[in-house]
Every structure is written in C-alpha cells, then in structure tokens.
Amino acid sequence: MEEAELGNEIVEISMQVNGVSVVLRTPANRTLLSILREDLRLTGAKEGCGIGECGACTVLMNGKAVNACMVLAPKADGARITTIEGLGDEARLHPLQEAFVKHGAVQCGFCTPGMILSAKALLDENPNPTRLEIREGISGNLCRCTGYQQIVDAIEEVAARKQGEES
C-alpha cells in the first residue's frame, strides 16, 4: 500500500498547453497524458500502451516529440505543450493534416494524432528529409492499419512544399 502512495505528494505545475496557460495541482506521479486527457479533456492524445512503446500519446513538449505517458507531472512544469488539438482545426488544417487527408494516410485514426505530431517534430528539425529519414522519424509511432506508405507520402509532400517555399 505504502508503495502505491509513493510519489503521491501534490505538486503545482504550470504549462502552456496549445498556447493557453494552465496551472494545476496534481499528484506528482500522474502522467502528462492523464492530465491532458482527464483534467483538460484533450483526448486527441491516445493511450495505446501506457509504457512508452506505441507513440499514440505523442505530444510536443517544447517543440520535441515526447510520449506523454512517460512524462510525469513535475517534468511538464514550465513546458510548452502542443497537442493535436492545438495544431489546426477543420476550418484551418495544418499542412500536415491536409496532406494526411489528401493521401488517405489514415485508416482507424487511433495512431494519427501522435503520428502527425511526430511528423511535425521531424520536419521542424529536418525540413528536407529523405523517405528513409521520414521512416526513421516516425518509427516510434506504431500503426497497425496503414502499412505507413501513405503516411510517408503525406509527410514527404509537406517537406517538398516547404522546401519549395524556401527556395
């Protein structure tokens, strides 16, 4: 029983979630994923395994893709968090969302939010990846439905478009 209580002390954390300041008090052993899903009702990040193996819970923390199920509350203190809800909406899709739609890179859609955010982190760091680099960049995000090819196509198109803009 005592073991279960460990890390249960209440901490206060403040974060920027999708551009909005959030301050909350929560047991220190809670994960960023459960805070996002349960307290903030941002259910775009999914729980596929809860132990850092599937990538369905991927969000951006200070611009880097992280598995939100592996981030404990205190670690998120002071962080900038972007979830899929903060990327774009139906009226104004982010180019990656648009490309996923165009290429049919979605089947069941359970992996999709995490996949798109990993793709964003990848392109922010490497705006001009090869197909292999794209595959590497999303290799922490499991998808059982699509076989990945249309996802790679979608990300590649956004990369090419970006490059076109720059040159």
């Binding site: 990327l87 939010p113 990945y148």
Partner: protein, 753 residues
C-alpha cells in the same frame, strides 16, 4: 460502365475529425459519475474454482460491488459459433486470464486494491498446451465433450491415383505462429441503463448485432432491451469480433444504477483476447514433370486454445483453401480445431488462409525448384480460370482474376531479379538477395453459411437522403465505400447522404465486419436499398415528365427525360413531390450470397459465391550472419472485382504487406509471457518497404458495380512470398514461422556464410 462516384478516390468519411483529434473513441467519451470495472483473472491455466470470498474486497472504500458467476441473470455461456465460454468462471478456468470475478468501483485505485483483496482458491488441474498432446486419449480434458472441437474433411477425386500419376511428390510439414492482432486501440466501452430500462453499451466492436444477441442471452432479456452502439473503432483485424469488455459492462449496468466504463490495459488486451490460430500442417503434393498439379493431401491441426471462438471457421477455411488458387483433380484434406490451455484463438485477418497459404505456396516453389520451372510459370500452368472446379466441387463462373494478377506481377519479378544480378557482388559477407512470389485465393463471406446483410435508404420531403447500415467501419473504410455505392445509384455526391451506422437501436443487422464481406455483401444490400428508393423517385419523375420511367435519367443531382437535359428538375424537388404524395421513401435492401453447406464427409458444396485472388512478389535481403531479413521492395496485384475506392484498396494492400512482414519475420505470441510491444514487435515504418499496389478488376456479377473484397487478401501472400525469397537467396527452405533472427542464423551453415 461509366461511374461518377464509384471508382473514385473519394476522401474517407470522418478523416477531418481524425486528423484534428476530434474523433471520439470509446476511451475518449466523457461520462460523468461512471464506475470503473476490473476483472480478476485466473492465474492458472487449468483448474477448478473452489472458493471465492469477496468480503475483504467489498469492504474496501470505493468498491461498489463484486460480481461472480452466480450473478449472471441469463446464460453464462457465449461464443460466436459454438457457445463454450463463460463470462465469469462458474467452476472451471481453462487458460491464464480466464475471468473469475468482476469489480465495480468508484475509481481505479479502489478497484486495484479490491483485485488484490479477493480471496480465490483454485484447485489446479493438469494442463495441456500442445494440440497433438491434447488429442491423446489420456490428455487432460478441457471441455466436457473432449478436446477435439471440430473436423473438416474435403475429398474429391482419388488422391492415391493422383499420386501414382505424378512424376514428382513432395511431402513437407509446416508450422505457423500464434499472433496477436495488436490494433493500437485497446478494448474499451461504456454502458448505462436508460430510463426505460434498456441497457445501452457504446463499445469498440466489429460485430454490434452479434454482441447484442449474445448480451441479451447473458442477461436473460430480449434483444430489444439491449442496445449496442459501435464507437469509432481503432482497428480490429478480427480481434474485435468476439466480445471483450461488453459482457462486463452489460452485467454491471444491469445491476447498478450508475454508468460504468472499462478499458483494457495493453497487457490485458494481449492476455484476454483472441489470437491467430497456430497451425501444424502436413502437405503432400503430386505433380507431373510439366508442373501440372495432380493431387494434394493435407492434414491440418489448429490450436484453438481454451475456447472455440471462430475455431470451426478457421479449420474449415484452411481446408477449403488448402490447394491454393489452382486446379487439382484429386484432393483429400482433413483439418481439425483442437482445444488446449493456451490463450484462445479466434478470427484474425484471413481465418486460417494466411497460414495455409504458407504451405501451398512453399509447395509450389519447391515443385518449381525441383522441376526447373520459374515460379510464375508453374502457377500460371495451374491457376484457376472461368470453368475451373474447386476442391469443394464448385465451378467458378466469373471473376477469376488470378491469371491477370500473375501477368501483372511478372514484370516486377523480372525487374527484381535483374536488380539482384546487378547488385550481387559488392554485398557484405553473408548477405544475399532473393526474390519470391506467392499467390492466394480467398472466399468472400462466411463459409458455407448464409450471411445476409441489410440496409435502408430513406429520403424525406426536403430531399435529405439517409443511409442506414449496421456495418461497423473499423478503420478499413466501409462507411466511405457504402456511401459511394448509394451515391452512385442515386446520382448524387457522397456529401449529400447522411450516414447512420452500426447502432442496433437504429440500424438492422449487416453481419460482422469480417471475412472481407462488407464491400461485397453490405455493399450489394446498400445498392439494392438505393435502387428501390431511386425507383420510387423515378416513378414520380415519370409522372412529372409524362414519360415512361425507363426513359428518365437520374444523374448529377437532377432528374430529366433522356435527351432533354434542359428540362432537368433537382433531386430534392422530385423527392419533395414524391414524399408529399406517398410519404417518406424508404428503400429496403438485402443481400445474401448463394452458398450451400459443405458435406460433412466430403466437404462438397458451395462455400462462397465469389473469391478474391492475388499475387505478390518481394525482393528480400537476407543477412545470414545477423539473421536479419529485410523486405526491400514488394509489388502486390489484387483482383478486387471493382475498386470502389482505389485509395482505400491501396491502403489495404500496404496494410496487408506490413502485417504479413510481421507474421513472416518476427511476430510470435507466447502465452503468459508476451505482455507488451516490448516483446511483441510489430512492424514500424522502418520494417516496411515501398510497395507497388496493382489493382486488377475482373468484375463479380453479383457484387455492387462488380466489387468483391480485399481486406484479408492483402495480407495473405506476404509471408509465403518472403519465405520463397529467403529460399532463393540462401538455397534453404524455412517451413516454420516466423523466420526470425535465430532461424535465419541457423539456416546457412557457417562455411557458406
């Protein structure tokens, strides 16, 4: 046939919500005040529950109630084909993970504590984990009627004569792996009792109407008192055909005046749900010098684990498809599904056909190798054509595209072979390249059983069109395809039709999303429903134009008499007038493809109306030092009858190749050991090559616009093509899946590395 919507790359319905994170899966639903459910599962593989003491657990703060078998109001027995599974064990437990008690608590923590506080005594019984052992007379008896669940026999011609007429006979044994579906969404649902008393369950499922019937029986109430609504489903692959959280949710909602929710952890999802049947196969194949198949004799043993689930269907499908898509005059197959104390096996993408394809396609390549034929020629020499007779005595009448898939794959086979010749020399030590081919056939729909679907198209006085279907879209895209079919018939765009799907309170039974049947069977039901609705409108338009309805055109959202497009009247206007005169238009559609039951002794009959066909080629790199096999390129040609949505079809092909790579090279579930993606590796983007999808359309006359199915076929040729490529690279055959690192390292003797 000219079509406007069918055959087009229409955007998937709901994709905008999916990319923006708005789509709600069951675990995303907000249901204030819901209790949490947890299940106590058997820690032993075989035993008798002697005592369940819930007192201490019930005393824990936050625990609301604990249920055991005695709380089940109706029948504590369910199962999709043969009912042999208990919701909560009434005496016996048959695998590690069998449910014994159900806890309803205010929160996760209380439920967790209650799990630990339950006092349960189980008298352990000897267990059996090998199906061959389980068939021995003195084996521990898992179910009362014995460990043999089912035998399927197929006999045609005279195999002994066939073998005597053969110049070459090959007899081999094959073993396939136990697999986990590994959809990324774990099982989840919520339930509550409506004011009028009906139990409503929102759940991730492939099978809403079957869930409803089974839950009603468990609760001992009429099906009208149970409503199952399919939530957005994060993949299924057959694993969400059997019930998972449904009976627990229903039972708790039945007793408690509170909403309840339950989501499996990944570990529980792995432990508690169906697996792919591992098969042991002995196959003897005889052929002439020219490579013409003369006889196939096979014995198949499928490990169905603790419960039947779809075991009977898997044993049957493996037998029916055992020859591959080839004419074989003499056939004798015996296929058994056997109980063991392993995790139960059920439906998984292909129902035994991906497993049996490993055998028949390895046999084909072994024959080709011995006879000096190339793999495409030997398949072409035997492939079905219109008029061919299958092992069950069925004459194939139409839509037999296997030869076309072989033709389409030949250039890729040659291209990959050239690539090997060009790159053979600079390879690192122990690394070799190989190219492999495999074909498949797959009967669409339930085997030798009726499998009807139904649908309705309603049009109201404003011209609003609603399509109602019970078909569960689990990510494969049936919503989109069914809307395309309705839109095509009605001459409108898909966005003009409202879809109501997979809710037993609103839609009628469309059958399960399984056996690659929704496009073909539900698609045809939708076609019929839309056609009837259209006929009602045509009648009205004929009146308006004072012309025979056969001369009225319905297209592009308008009605007009042939050659007088300038007179066109909008769809909505005709609908309004028709509804004003005769009331709401409701087109009812049903379809039940012709099948006949298979003779129990000879297996003769009509298992399916139509079959899908495919051929795949893979270029593979084998590192015999590390044991690593990578698929570098693949091309896969599928006869789908008609691609209603080519992007969806291609998506299925990519998906099938990826899943087949996992099956062929690394996936293997070990009962009670495999608990996470850490040990159950599924393909990542790095494990999957660039795939060229090739669509062949040999129309099926009974299908909607000629369509058949592709969901399962996409997977089937993948693993055998890889095995055949490994042989070409190394000169060694792999007869046992997966061809993992260890297998490959042991394959090539050190002096050849």
């Amino acid at each position: 046939m000219i079509t406007n919507v069918v055959g087009k790359r229409i955007q998937r319905i709901g994709i905008q919500q999916k990319v923006t994170g708005k789509t709600k899966f069951a675990a995303d639903l907000d249901i204030p005040g819901a209790l949490t459910l947890r299940v106590y599962r058997s820690p032993v593989a075989h035993g008798i529950v002697r005592k369940i003491d819930t007192k201490k657990a019930e005393a824990i703060e936050g625990v609301v109630r604990i249920f055991t078998a005695k709380d089940i109001p109706g029948k504590n027995l369910y199962g999709i084909i043969n009912r042999d599974q208990t919701v909560l064990a009434d005496s016996k437990v048959r695998f590690i993970g069998d449910p014994i008690a159900l806890i309803a608590a205010e929160n996760e923590k209380s439920a967790e504590q209650a799990l630990k506080a339950l006092e349960i005594e189980i008298e352990e019984l000897p267990a059996v984990f090998d199906p061959l052992e389980a068939l021995k007379p003195d084996a521990p008896r898992i179910h009362e009627k014995g460990n043999l669940l089912f035998t399927r026999k197929i006999k045609r011609g005279d195999v002994e004569k066939g073998f005597s007429a053969s110049d070459i006979i090959l007899e081999e044994t094959y073993e396939t792996n136990m697999l986990e579906h590994a959809y990324i969404e774990p099982e989840s649902g919520i339930a509550y009792r409506e004011k009028e008393g009906r139990i409503t369950i929102l759940v991730t499922t492939q099978n809403p109407h079957a869930d409803q019937a089974q839950l009603a029986a468990i609760l001992g109430i009429g099906p009208e008192n149970v409503r199952v609504i399919q939530t957005e489903t994060g993949g299924g692959f057959g694993g969400k055909l059997d019930m998972s959280v449904q009976p627990f949710l229903a039972l708790a909602a039945y007793y408690l005046d509170r909403p309840v929710r339950m989501t499996y952890s990944r570990e529980e999802s792995f432990q508690a749900t169906a697996k792919r049947h591992p098969l042991k196969i002995r196959m003897k194949t005889g052929a002439t010098r020219e490579g013409k198949l003369m006889a196939v004799n096979a014995e198949i043993i499928a490990d169905t684990g603790a419960y039947g689930s779809y075991g009977i269907a898997v044993a049957t499908r493996a037998a029916v498809h055992a020859t591959g898509p080839y004419e074989v005059p003499n056939v004798a197959i015996e296929s058994k599904a056997v109980y063991t104390n392993n995790n139960w096996s059920g439906a998984m993408r292909g129902f035994g056909v991906p497993q049996i394809a490993v055998a028949h396609e390895s046999q084909m390549d072994k024959l080709a190798d011995s006879l000096g034929l190339d793999p495409i020629s030997i398949r072409m020499a035997n492939a079905f054509k219109v008029g061919s007779v299958t092992p069950t005595g069925q004459t194939l009448r139409a839509s037999v595209g296997i030869r076309e898939t072989l033709k389409k794959i030949r250039p890729y086979y040659e291209k990959f072979s050239r690539e090997i010749q060009e790159t053979q020399h600079p390879l690192p030590q122990g690394v070799k390249l190989g190219v492999g081919v495999a074909s498949m056939w797959y009967g669409i729909g339930n085997t030798g059983h009726p499998n009807p679907s139904s649908a309705q198209v309603e049009i109201d006085e404003t011209g609003k069109i609603t399509l109602l279907t019970g078909a569960a879209d689990i990510g494969q895209g049936s919503d989109t395809v069914l809307l395309q079919i309705a839109a095509e018939v009605l001459g409108v765009g898909t966005e003009e039709i409202l879809l109501v799907r997979a809710d037993t309170g609103l839609t009628t039974d469309a059958g399960a999303t399984s056996a690659s049947r929704q496009t073909y069977i539900s698609g045809r039901a939708v076609y019929e429903a839309a056609t009837k609705a259209k006929e009602a409108l045509l009648k009205k338009a004929a009146e308006i134009f004072n012309a025979p309805s056969s001369l009225i055109v319905c297209d592009g959202g308008y009605f007009y008499p042939q050659y007088r497009e300038y007179q066109k009247i909008p769809f909505g206007e005709v609908a309004k007038r028709a509804v004003q005169a005769d009331g709401v238009i409701r087109g009812e559609g049903t379809f039940n493809p012709e099948t006949s039951s298979l003779d129990p002794e000879t297996g003769q009959g009509i298992p399916y109306t139509t079959y899908a066909f495919a051929t795949q080629v893979s270029l593979v790199r084998v590192d015999s030092v590390t044991g690593q096999v990578s698929v570098i390129r693949a091309a896969s040609a599928h006869d789908v009858g008609k691609a209603v949505n080519p992007s969806n079809v291609e998506g299925q092909i990519f998906s099938g190749v990826a899943m087949g790579i996992g099956m062929g090279l690394f996936e293997q579930f070990f009962p009670n050991k495999t608990k996470s993606f850490d040990t159950y590796l599924i393909p990542t983007a790095l494990d999957v090559p660039e795939v060229t999808p090739i669509i062949v359309e040999d129309p099926e006359p009974t299908g909607p616009f000629g369509a058949k199915g592709v969901g399962e076929p996409a997977l089937i040729p993948t693993a055998p093509a890889i095995l055949n490529a490994i042989h070409q690279a190394t000169g060694r055959w792999v007869n046992r899946l997966p061809a993992d690192l260890e297998t490959i390292r042991g394959l090539v003797p050190p002096e050849e590395k």
